[in-house]
């Protein structure tokens, strides 16, 4: 074995060293030690000549790096050396091996990569262990070396069929089995399985139980939202069916192409193309391994787009995150939980590295903070695709070959589907380490390129992605109406030693399954070869209405498709809605200016520029409405605008609506607000509220608790009411339940969280606008009604007040406002518009001022208010459906004539002096723009 260590040359900045140094004080190590960071490679063969050649030609950058061959490495107390655990894929090693082969270097050995951090001073063992654990190593996928790594060669799996006798065992033993095998099935489900096998008069095999558990998991079947719910006497037979699907079914819109039946929802774009959109949640993995979790979240949703119809090309990504506050005291973080700042940084890095490498612009998103996300961060990843008209349907037929393409199969991600259907606790890190995966974007990128060519040559008939449940779910779904057989030993493996069950349920990333007519097999092979994509023919779709699996010609599974897909007993759950009182609060603010600054710098409102600029939001050259806008390109935009075709001005507008505080008091209003905000955001840039489709993403706590399920029911009713009234049909959605974290003495459930993502199609991107103030000559107006609605507001978060009235939505009025604003943007009356949401109109106005680098001279005295008035409430109330607009000076009369029967108020003008002045009768709040910009921008600059 040979080890090499790489360091940066003298005088060259080493970013890994800097990063560690800057983070040490944050975990309480404040003595600023000197650090040396080294990248290390271990080669299993003792051939200096070849190792030198590999290092010189491929690994090092001679201008900034130098390397040494280390003969006797040791692991003293001041050193932390760490690497990936055996079985965790390291993309760098994959690329390195590939490059060695392509350059014709003969090296028949293995390479392992590690990182070595050498501290200048000797710490106590506990301190070094603490630094290693808190800052350097993620125990889920990495380990610390204290001796040479071993080049383990997996042993071939020796086939032995495992059968489990469940014929005569009682309830307790059935549940023990469910827990032991991480099946996550309840007693009724276990009994149904027992009944099925008793009828067949045989024992189930392990792989059969696993397959049923995957297929019946909450993650795949959405049992709670499809099951029966007793809601205070009201019998709800399928919550989604009676709310979300119903709103879509009753919609009169004519732009729907495919809804709720494919991997993403599809709507019409133009004569040539459709657009599809999907948003996924990826919460549980991101809690344990934020980087890998977020990466695979993006990777998964992108594969959903690639697997929609016969496959779409992803053209934009979105992301929305919810974390606990990043200043949460380190000492109070419970065991088994990563610090929220570490989670946030890992998630951002994961989305960045995967999205950027895939070449998909990340164009829209938001980040929200609430301490109840401590144990369960929420990570939503969305992707939008474009697909030629005619490719929106797929159909596999008996006789067609089942082909797996893309990444190889390993032990990664085993039990992801069932794992994501249970609550986390402080042992989750240990028991579910396999459930977390590391992504490799380039494997997915080349698979995408190959698939698009194969699609355009019409070489396959159906496609789906291998997501949760792996091959089990993918092939189970594709073969649901036909039947299928698979030879598991034909699946390409990363390493030897996988059992037949592991092959079948592995959730290794970057794999898709396609159905290929036998006569096209050779042609499609050529396409895959051209793009260097691996593939394996593993079985065939049949007429048999059953699923049959073999391992080296031994039958290991035989299940009726009917039982597998429809045998799941519908759960009956109880829901109770605990109404929370909402009353006005007499808040008291001593220093208005400092309160305003605290609201502006609140984690949720502070600039997200540091995050946004790490994402390539312009790759593909289609982003014509960018996430950062204005004179200095640092003000937040309301929605993204994409021009999907290079030779057409037609566009799409992408926005989101979410509030993580309203639902704690009123989940029904929270749902209304989410839809209202999503539509408002897209209207503000010129989106058409009458050509808008939406997506729902639920993230809630444990639905087995009746009061949490009650919140889910109320939120669903809100979603139906708003979507029905706006006539914005849902086209796709996803739910993530059981977001609770069990501690020894208490259980934290996340706040009721609903994300609405919205997509609008517009005819001409030239008629879109941005929120930054354009000219001091133009008057600024407020459109919409203001009420005393401070419940769940950022103001009350800052003041530590828990009461108040949560904002409501007058949907018919909102619709009237949005239609009018859309028309006025089309007519050119409005040149800037910004939605008022968290923080209220004072924050919205300030963001418009920052965007244009203007001051403001606004008089708020005449804002229509249906209640006892006070300055603070007008400044910070979060009443919905309000938009601030800058009206072109010579069109003010047209504006007023158009807006007449809607509530509005002229606020004033922008000024050149960069002073923001909000006047109210005899009161004045004055803020110097130059004083607040830096703190607003730097709160989230890490």
């Amino acid at each position: 074995m040979i080890k090499i260590e790489i360091i940066t040359r003298d005088g060259i900045k080493n970013h890994d060293e800097e990063k560690i140094k800057s983070n040490l004080p944050f975990i309480g190590i404040k003595d600023n030690p000197d650090i040396r960071f080294k990248k290390c490679y271990y080669f299993s063969l003792d051939n200096n000549e070849i190792v030198n050649r590999i290092v010189k030609e491929i690994i090092i950058d001679p201008i900034i790096e130098e390397y040494t061959i280390v003969n006797n490495t040791d692991y003293p107390l001041n050193v932390v050396e760490y690497g990936y655990m055996t079985g965790v894929m390291d993309p760098v090693i994959l690329t390195l091996n590939d490059a060695i082969e392509r350059l014709g270097i003969i090296f028949k050995g293995d390479i392992i990569r590690t990182f070595r951090v050498e501290f200048s001073k000797n710490y106590e063992k506990e301190d070094i262990d603490y630094i290693a654990k808190k800052l350097l190593i993620n125990g889920t996928v990495q380990y610390r070396l204290n001796t040479y790594p071993t080049f383990k060669k997996g042993k071939e799996f020796e086939f032995k069929l495992i059968e489990i006798d469940i014929a005569n065992i009682g309830d307790d033993n059935l549940m023990d089995l469910s827990n032991k095998m991480v099946l996550s099935l309840n007693i009724n489900e276990m009994k149904e399985i027992q009944k099925y096998y008793n009828k067949l008069n045989r024992k189930p095999t392990d792989i059969e139980l696993e397959t049923i558990a995957q297929t019946w998991s909450e993650h795949c079947k959405h049992k709670t939202l499809n099951g029966n719910i007793d809601f205070e006497g009201e019998n709800i037979n399928g919550l989604l069916k009676s709310t979300i699907f119903k709103a879509t079914k009753e919609s009169k819109r004519d732009f729907l192409v495919s809804v709720f039946k494919d991997n993403a929802g599809i709507i019409k774009f133009d004569d040539k193309n459709h657009i599809c959109f999907k948003v996924e949640t990826h919460n549980h993995p991101s809690a344990l391994e934020p980087y890998g979790g977020a990466e695979t979240g993006i990777g998964g949703v992108v594969r959903d787009i690639m697997g929609t119809g016969k496959g779409a090309k992803p053209i934009a990504n979105t992301d929305v995150f919810c974390f606990a506050n990043p200043d949460y005291p380190h000492t109070e973080i419970p065991i088994g939980i990563l610090h929220p700042k570490r989670i946030a940084m890992g998630v951002v890095a994961g989305v960045r590295d995967y999205g950027n490498r895939m070449g998909i612009p990340t164009v829209n998103g938001s980040i929200h903070f609430h301490n109840d996300y401590l144990g369960n961060p929420v990570v939503f990843c969305g992707s939008i695709g474009i697909m030629p008209v005619g490719t929106e349907t797929k159909h596999s037929s008996p006789g067609e070959k089942i082909v797996v393409i893309g990444g190889r199969t390993g032990k990664d991600g085993i039990h992801g589907a069932t794992f994501s259907s249970i609550s986390l606790n402080d042992e989750s890190e240990a028991i579910s380490s396999n459930a977390v995966q590391i992504g490799n974007a380039i494997t997915e990128k080349k698979m995408l390129d190959a698939l698009l060519e194969a699609r355009d040559k019409n070489l396959y008939t159906a496609i789906t992605d291998c997501g949760a449940g792996g091959l089990s779910s993918a092939i189970g779904e594709m073969g649901e109406n036909t039947g299928a057989f698979v030879e598991l030993s034909d699946v390409l493996l990363k390493y030897k030693g996988l059992t037949y069950t592991e092959i079948w349920i592995s959730e290794a990333q970057e794999r898709m399954v396609i159905s290929v007519k036998p006569e096209n097999i050779n042609k499609i092979r050529d396409v895959f070869k051209k793009y260097n994509v691996e593939y394996a023919e593993i079985g065939e779709f049949t007429n048999g209405k059953n699923l049959v699996l073999f391992y080296k010609c031994n039958k290991v599974l035989e299940l009726d498709m009917e039982f597998l897909h429809n045998g799941l007993p519908k759960p009956n759950k109880k829901a109770i809605y605990k109404k929370r009182e909402q009353n006005k609060v007499n808040h008291k603010i001593n220093n208005l200016k400092s309160t305003f600054i605290s609201v502006l710098n609140n984690w949720t409102i502070a600039s997200k520029e540091w995050v946004i600029r790490q994402y390539d939001h312009e790759v593909q050259g289609r982003t014509v409405g960018k996430p950062l806008i204005g004179e200095k390109q640092d003000a937040p935009s309301d929605a993204a605008v994409i021009k999907p075709e290079y030779d057409s001005l037609k566009g799409i507008v992408i926005s989101n609506g979410i509030n993580v505080r309203y639902g704690i008091t009123d989940p029904y209003k929270m749902a209304l607000c989410a839809i209202d905000e999503a539509i408002r955001n897209l209207v503000c840039v010129g989106g058409n509220p009458d050509y808008t489709a939406i997506l729902d993403n639920y993230s809630f706590g444990n639905p087995d608790k009746p009061e949490i399920l009650g919140d889910i029911v109320m939120a669903s009713k809100g979603l139906y009411d708003a979507a029905k009234s706006f006539d914005t049909p849902f086209i796709s959605g996803k739910d993530s339940l059981y977001n609770e974290f069990k501690l020894k003495d208490k259980t934290i459930n996340i706040p009721p969280t609903i994300l609405i993502s919205a997509l609008s199609v517009i005819d001409d991107v030239q008629l879109t606008i941005t929120s930054d103030i354009k000219s001091s000559k133009n008057p600024v107006y407020l459109i919409g009604n203001t009420h005393n609605e401070l419940g769940g507001s950022i103001l009350y978060d800052v003041l530590g007040i828990s009461g108040g009235i949560v904002p409501n939505v007058d949907v018919p009025m909102a619709q009237k406002i949005y239609r009018t604003v859309f028309r006025m943007i089309q007519n050119g009356y409005i040149v800037s518009a910004h939605d008022s949401s968290e923080g209220g109109i004072s924050i919205a106005a300030t963001e418009m001022a920052i965007g244009g680098r203007f001051g403001l001279d606004f008089d708020l005295s005449n804002i229509p208010f249906d209640d006892e008035q006070d300055f603070e409430t007008i400044l910070f109330s979060e009443s919905t459906s309000r938009i601030l607009v800058e009206v072109k000076s010579n069109m003010e009369d047209d504006f007023i004539n158009t807006i007449r029967d809607i509530s509005y108020c002229k606020l004033g003008y922008a000024t050149f002096d960069r002073l923001i002045r909000f006047k109210y009768k005899d009161k004045l709040l004055e803020i110097d723009l130059t004083e607040i910009i830096e703190s607003w921008k730097s709160a989230l600059r890490w």
Partner: protein, 260 residues
Amino acid sequence: MKINVSLLYTEGTNCNLETENAFRKVGASVETKILSEVIRKNENFDKSHIIVIPGGFSYGDDISAGKVFADLLIHYKRDDINRFLNSGKLIIGICNGFQVLVKSGLLPNIDGNENVEVTLAFNDSGTFIDKWVNLKVNNNSVSKFINHSLPDTIELPIAHAEGKFVANKRIIKSLNDNRQIVFQYCDKKGNITDKSNPNGSYSNIAGICDISGQILGLMPHPERYVEIYQYPSWQRKHFSGDSIGILIFNNAVKYVRENL
């Protein structure tokens, strides 16, 4: 005259479509060539006039940006590339393409031996940055892509993690003396300042050419500014004439048309 552009594509290339779009807009026809196929079939570039290596993350940039692409290109295609250059033709590398060109030794190639003389290291910020920057254009450079036709300062977007230009003093002096520096990061007024340097590049260098001016490498993305709607907050500005990015592609095509 039909201008043929070969777009070199490999696993991880991802700016190919917009680059193709930019060349099409100026009348060139673009053929995408997959590097591994070029190597396997032993194809050359004799029928092309321009080779473009677009942006992306070739081979994941897993080892360092552009490195594996550069290794393969120089290992298998050195002679073909030299023949291509000897006939007066042009090569442009954008972002990852620039990284490929410097790591293969084709840029700046001051001593003519294709030794690696400079590199593009990790940004000083330690992260990826997507941002529009001001660039000072050296209209006196020998680059065939500039041709004295660009304004003295222009705006283009950068989007990279490894774009910090690093070279020793001798190399930088030669680049200067040979008029090989093409673009430098600057402020709005064209002043080359530390504050306007987005990634810590030595001498604020954003783009260079080889001694002959036939090869251009740059970190900013001209293909992302070929129409006004790609400009950030285009709603704030009055536009006249072509978008800046398109001029660079136009110059290349014009040069080929007039000289080959």
